[in-house]
Symmetry: C2
């Protein structure tokens, strides 16, 4: 690449873009870690995007109608920090840039949405950003349909690297964006031919242009260092009714000794080479110094959107107060006031009628009263709608000709669904929930973890939550997935025992603003165990006494979900023998752990023997069985210590010993 020609052909642009390059070079060198080459390679694209197109107001990074910019290639985080610093984001000071990757800095190794308002989504695990972006773009379409383009009308831009495109989830994202005609989604592919192990061709020879076209995308190929070509491509992409991919041929670590090599992917810390690169670029100021004229241009760019924002605010003020309030409510993720009364009414009705239904069906019953009063809910399933019970009659189906539709047929794409739901949550204004089988939590693990890390209140509706699914066999029967979800910080895992607990769990999940929820629901029917209506939400405490011991309390049986019924039957048997037995329903271990010690001790007093029952592995249970600091109780567990098998559900419960008889026997054995 002839740097001199690049410098001379568009000198102003060159120096603006090189401000990004120099900051990335300096920050990575100072941190002695990070990724220098990508920000250098994509500086031109980013400069044209921010300079000429991106609708944003650097001083107000959370303005609702901003264009979204997602750095899917998150390792190139200094590209984003440089953009935010240069254009005047108040959080990204020069000190922050200098403290890149250090303790307490907001400029973390990878962009973290919970550290900086200017970061739309946490990226780094490759492919997630491009899959998030599908959700961002869907949310925009939905809100535009609901509130009108005067309030919602923006683009979603993505920079994705070769790594993002090799990850399978990218195919799910590409397929979804193509299918749903997300024309306001524009992806720049940083086509630099380099991965960590070497040339891209070492491991992939896919023709990405053909691949995107196969899914109905609008595709352009440009020189990613030519600002005129970049600008023209963005203009064309914005006009396209299909999602757009702009293949940007770039040179990683452009102008540096490491250019076009996999060394250029990582941290460039050789001082002499870095000095030579700056010379090559024509960059004369010292480390972290940006010439005033260049900084001024960037700040002007950063405030370009202030007028747009003011106009938008004026338009917002023109709509009715009620509409303004509703817009604010959904953008802030607040549940409607009547949610509480709605759930109470449903609970009362359930306790009275005592239906025997699967909790997946109970979930549908809850959604049937929730969806009409929460127009922000967006349902969906990864091709298991009838099994996950996620669709209610009033939703309508989201499609190219029905942007008001609130139900999404995600196809067989659990990973893409979960990532896109995270994108929706992050965009704001919608409240996504989506279903698959609990065992396929495995496919959705990367975004389920990221939901927790990013503090997005995405709701995962995981049905068929144990061997209770029966004949489909061990590939479809979760045994470790409750433990997996519970092991993840900042995640609420609900395993409701009946339709009342399911309604309560939904209410709690919908009130979260910073925590994702996993609803673990049965395939098989369960009796109503909450026969006495209570206004208060008992699931909120995580665990509570469902049936008290009669006589001296000798044993406590703790159970969740479908095994609460078994615990109650075991209690009946034990009480008949005079063994006073309490049954504790524990629908949410995380919420129980958050209660004060007095409450926890009231529910699980030291002394009585304890038996836990859950059709899953024991891992995660010992804290409640053995006592939080040890020496509290003699205890045992009835559950699964192996994979399941293919047979009718009742047979499996019997064969694997998850029965009232077995629970009662364990209690007796512990009592010696």
């Amino acid at each position: 690449m002839d740097i001199q020609e690049l410098r001379s052909s568009n000198p102003d642009h060159w120096m603006r873009a090189t401000a990004i390059r120099a900051l990335a070079l300096d920050a990575v060198a100072a941190a002695n870690s990070g990724h220098t080459g990508m920000p250098i390679g994509m500086a031109d694209v980013a400069t044209v995007l921010y300079g000429n197109h991106l609708k944003y107001d650097a001083q107000n990074p959370e303005w609702h109608d901003r264009d979204r910019f997602i750095l899917s290639a998150g390792h190139g985080s200094m590209l984003l920090y440089a953009l935010l610093y240069l254009s005047g984001d108040p959080e990204v000071t020069l000190d922050q840039v200098k403290n890149f990757r250090q303790w307490g800095a907001k400029t973390a190794g990878h962009p973290e949405n919970f550290l900086l308002k200017g970061v739309e989504t946490t990226t780094g695990p490759l492919g997630q950003g491009i899959a998030n972006s599908v959700g961002f773009a869907m949310a925009e379409e939905m809100l535009r349909a609901r509130f009108g383009k005067k309030l919602v009308d923006h683009y979603t831009y993505v920079i994705a690297g070769d790594g993002c495109l090799m990850e399978g989830v990218s195919q799910e994202a590409i397929g979804l964006a193509g299918r749903y005609g997300l024309g306001k989604l524009i992806v720049f592919w940083d086509n630099n031919d380099i991965t960590i192990d070497g040339k891209v061709s070492l491991s992939d020879r896919t023709d990405q242009v053909k691949r995107f076209k196969a899914s109905g995308w609008h595709v352009q190929e440009i020189d990613g260092h030519d600002p005129v070509a970049i600008d023209a491509a963005i203009i064309a992409a914005k006009k396209s009714k299909s999602p757009s991919m702009i293949a940007c041929k770039t040179h990683i670590a452009l102008g540096h000794a490491a250019q076009d090599t996999s060394k250029g992917h990582g941290a460039l810390t050789n001082a002499d080479q870095n000095t030579a690169a700056k010379d090559n670029w024509g960059w004369k100021t010292g480390p972290f110094e940006v010439p005033a004229d260049i900084k001024s241009w960037w700040e002007a760019t950063g405030s370009r959107g202030a007028a747009d924002r003011a106009e938008w605010e004026a338009r917002l003020n023109e709509v009715s107060a009620q509409r303004q309030a509703e817009f604010a409510r959904v953008m802030n993720g607040e549940a409607p006031k009547k949610l509480s009364a709605t759930i109470k009414a449903l609970k009362k009705q359930i306790s009275e009628n005592a239906p025997k239904v699967a909790t997946r069906k109970a979930s549908e019953m809850a959604l049937e009263v929730i969806n009409p009063i929460m127009p922000e809910t967006i349902g969906g399933s990864a091709d298991l709608t009838g099994s996950n019970n996620t669709l209610t009659g009033d939703m309508g189906v989201f499609d190219t000709d029905n942007r008001k539709g609130r139900y999404i047929y995600w196809g067989i794409r659990e990973h893409g669904m979960a990532s896109a739901m995270n994108g929706m949550s992050l965009h704001g204004g919608v409240r996504p929930y989506g279903g698959t089988f609990m065992a396929f939590t495995d496919y959705a693990r990367p975004p389920m973890r990221l939901a927790a890390l990013m503090k997005t209140p995405t709701i995962f509706v995981m049905t068929h939550d144990s061997i209770g699914l029966g004949e489909d066999g061990p590939t479809h029967q979760p045994v470790e997935h409750l433990a997996i979800s519970r092991a993840t910080p900042n995640t609420l895992v609900f395993r409701p025992a009946d339709a009342v607990e399911t309604a309560e769990a939904w209410e709690i999940a919908l009130r979260q603003t910073g925590t994702p929820s996993v609803l673990s629901l049965t395939r098989q029917n369960l009796p109503t165990v909450r026969l006495e209506h209570k206004n208060s939400n008992l699931v909120e405490k995580g665990a509570y006494v469902l049936a008290e011991a009669e006589g001296k309390r000798q044993a406590i049986i703790i159970a969740t979900g479908s095994e609460v019924e078994i615990a109650l039957a075991a209690r009946d048997a034990l009480q008949a023998e005079g063994i006073g037995t309490r049954v504790v329903s524990m629908p949410c271990m995380e919420l129980f752990a958050q209660q004060d010690e007095a409450y926890r001790k009231r529910i699980l007093p030291a002394g009585p023997v304890r038996v836990g029952v859950e059709a899953a592995v024991r891992q995660g249970w010992d804290r409640w069985l053995l006592g939080e600091r040890g020496r509290e109780a003699k205890a045992d567990f009835v559950g699964m210590d192996r994979f399941g098998a293919s047979a009718p559900a009742e047979t499996l419960y019997e064969k694997f010993g998850i029965t009232a008889d077995n629970v009662a026997a364990k209690v007796r054995a512990l009592l010696g």
Copy 2:
């Protein structure tokens, strides 16, 4: 679709294929669950494949040089069971077919490789089969290169549905097969336009032909009910030097009332409709009855390969006894005899030199002595070769022009890599291991679970196993992934403390024949803690006393991996105060759990207080801290209860309190 025309144009073929249809219809109806439509739709393809092409010997389903047939669309399991029954697989009797999906039957809901020899791989979680097949085809290429085509020369056939192709992992598989020119891989796409939720177009409009072509595949489009076209396409595919995809336009539930509908995907149990379908097909015999002439044809098909097998055995007998023994050894997955001595020599050298190295580096040191004596090992990494330390000098790189290469650049495809490694393990003759960052266990979860379920001894080399990876931050720092791996049945999770334990862990992992291993390895350097050489493999016991208490034993500190160093330092501080403290290194909880109670009690006697240390969540530890039945010890834990952060590793350990000071303080507090 005009069934009469199909019946009359190829009447013999029609009835042979319809035997599959009728068996699937009957078995699903009897089980009252399962998937009828897919076996009906793909019966023609399967009949031509088995009848004219597939090299197999039904009586000897494990013959090493058979063609492999993988039903990626595993829900259509009755297709496979019908094929095995009809062609005379001795395990698949008519009783087995009649007991489809029942307790104890080998004919499980989805095909399970551990129940039936004739099932190559467990499928059901969509996309796994097609990704496994990449490993099968790679293993064939590698073994052909090593042992010659006289011993190894076969095809890998796959039936994949729309669900398989929508799952992201299929793109990883398609990319890999295209890149590595796996010409003996032939995929039939069951192009029936139907998913569970409705038409495929509901959620996807990808042009699959263009998509496969974009990755360099040979693609044909045929009528999947035309036996002449199917035959011609297979002949052409076999000649292709590129992997082949045959798009088979089919009708799900062909000839049934549910044809071409999503109802046809599931269990067709309406007796009248089923009778009508059989009439339509011209099938006159009763349930589960196959006319003798048709059964004879199928049995002849099933024994067609017997001659091939005999010739192959003759060729095998022609090679040297040594070569025969080596072939048998690798196909049986036996480690070489000298492995033990090799590991001992390495351990001795490490204990003498006491290097301070990361366990990822220690893993490389182990591989440097293992790979030369185990020509069956196949290494690789998902684009982190230099970080995972998985490549040793002698391996060579697998490529289109170097099939003897033993190292695979998997690209940024953790899911595809792990699935393909499972395929290799299942094929036999090779011993795959592959690396990524421990946090990206998330991407590989579906095949990591399947490895455990399928009893394949795949080795997952997971480096950068804690906050110790430092600046890359929380997206890259596992905290829950040890718990996740440990929650999975039949999985050995090793977290070695130094280079000696790493070598021991490798030896154990390589000796497994039915259990996958996860090696959890550090980025950061660790001192050698095993300074005294022992011939015996201490990791084999799962946990052992690394440093005994001096004086009265008041405390036991249990630690793994990088935290063993911290435990030893805490012990020093406590001993200095006269607090007798034992340090237990626990590199593998699963192996420790397998020891007899006497051993476990010797290592963890009741009485002394216990503190666990691991830079991860506590989940999974309580059994060892609190005692297996409760009331054993007062205990505490030092680890992580949140996600990590971006900063240098030492800072993070300090800030998160994973320090010797904190461990010692916890011990003191427990001792009160």
